[in-house]
């Protein structure tokens, strides 16, 4: 629970998951990284607590299993309390260093971030589009395209293709803007990430109040229904505010 430092054992380092308020983390019982997974505990400094677990000094290569364990541990915490998530694989040499080198030197920063992010969570939203449905709409909305459809004349076909392509881009942009407009009002912050795959219209991280998660659900449900099958919205969360703790 507290930082009563055991002798820094040579073979053990402290893996840091994140920072919370100590009183909020009293009843968390979590398994962390490692094989077998090590129990997560807190190391306190003033009104901060770092969530840590023991790892071998030489952790070797980060593994998938550890990456997942890191993510799940933090998700479990975030579901209950506000947490500042560390990036994967933040490790210090021994438990006292958690206080001396992480919590104490940047106390103000952690304290402020915890205040700002209090009761806020991150939701990750990916929106995919169905290209055929999109094209159907592009054709339906443009009499020009309809007239040129079916022409066998090469220059006409080029022109047609060009119009369809631009129509598709415009439609995608409009859909993306519409979604952002609808999410913006209750997002404390909204960050667009680059789409990671073809067929992805939008990839955003939202910071929202914990109490707005249901509003968010209703909103994406409505957006999905309105799009009539041409969009698919897939969200994950509540997550720790990974995208909203960065420096600067």
């Amino acid at each position: 629970m507290s930082a009563e430092t055991t002798q820094p054992r040579q073979a053990t380092a402290s893996y840091i998951y994140g920072i919370v308020r100590p009183d909020s983390a009293q009843h968390l019982a979590l398994d962390g990284v490692g094989d077998p997974p090590q129990q997560v505990r807190t190391v306190r400094y003033r009104d901060l607590a770092a969530l840590v677990s023991d790892v071998p000094e030489d952790l070797g290569e980060g593994s998938r299993r550890d990456l997942l364990a890191h993510a799940r541990t933090l998700e479990n915490v975030a579901r209950q309390v506000t947490v500042l998530p560390m990036r994967f694989a933040m490790t210090v040499g021994h438990e006292q260093a958690v206080v001396d080198e992480v919590l104490a030197p940047d106390y103000e920063r952690w304290d402020q971030l915890l205040a700002v992010l209090h009761d806020r969570v991150e939701l990750s939203l990916k929106v995919y589009y169905d290209e055929e449905e999109m094209l159907r709409l592009v054709v339906a909305e443009d009499p020009h395209i309809q007239r040129m459809q079916g022409s066998q004349h090469l220059p006409d076909r080029m022109r047609l293709g060009e119009m369809v392509m631009h129509g598709l881009e415009a439609r995608k942009a409009a859909d993306a803007r519409h979604i952002l407009d609808r999410l913006q009002p209750f997002a404390v912050e909204l960050r667009e990430n680059p789409p990671v795959a073809e067929g992805m219209l939008l990839h955003v991280s939202l910071l929202i109040a914990r109490s707005d998660v249901e509003t968010f659900d209703a909103q994406i449900q409505t957006l999905g229904e309105e799009a009539g099958g041409r969009l698919r919205l897939r969200a994950v969360g509540p997550l720790p505010p990974y995208s909203f703790v960065a420096q600067g």
Partner: protein
């Protein structure tokens, strides 16, 4: 309507797979540079590896959907297909079907060629109404 909408918009409470985790957490979160003790080489590997997983899953899902649509369309075009295979000479039925499938998937993925496909899609729909 309900069944459709729940498919169209979903939220999962936790990242259930590596695929979900990766683009949510990699490169994100607090960094205290001096304290990264895990071999960076290892992290790079996990990152690259995981990025490939993300790209693949999305791409594969896309192909799977494209093929689903293909199947529907091919059923309605079964007669034409038989003609085509007959004309293919020594190619063999299976390989003809595969190459036709590949062409169609390629079509479905390249916006520039889409109008042709769009027409045939509309054609077959009208036919079935």
């Amino acid at each position: 309507m309900t069944a459709t909408s729940s498919y169209v918009a979903t939220r999962s409470a936790s990242s259930s797979s590596l695929y979900d985790v990766v683009d949510v957490i990699l490169d994100k979160g607090l960094v205290i540079d001096a304290f990264v003790r895990v071999s960076l080489v290892g992290i790079e590997l996990v990152t690259i590896d995981a990025r490939i997983v993300v790209a693949s899953v999305d791409t594969y899902l896309r192909f799977a959907e494209a093929v689903d649509r293909l199947n529907l369309r091919e059923q309605s075009q079964a007669a034409n297909l038989t003609d085509l295979i007959g004309g293919g000479g020594g190619g063999g039925m299976a390989s003809s079907m595969v190459s036709k499938g590949v062409d169609k998937v390629t079509d479905a993925l390249s916006p520039g060629d889409e109008e042709e496909q769009e027409q045939s899609a509309q054609g077959s729909e009208q036919g079935s109404q």
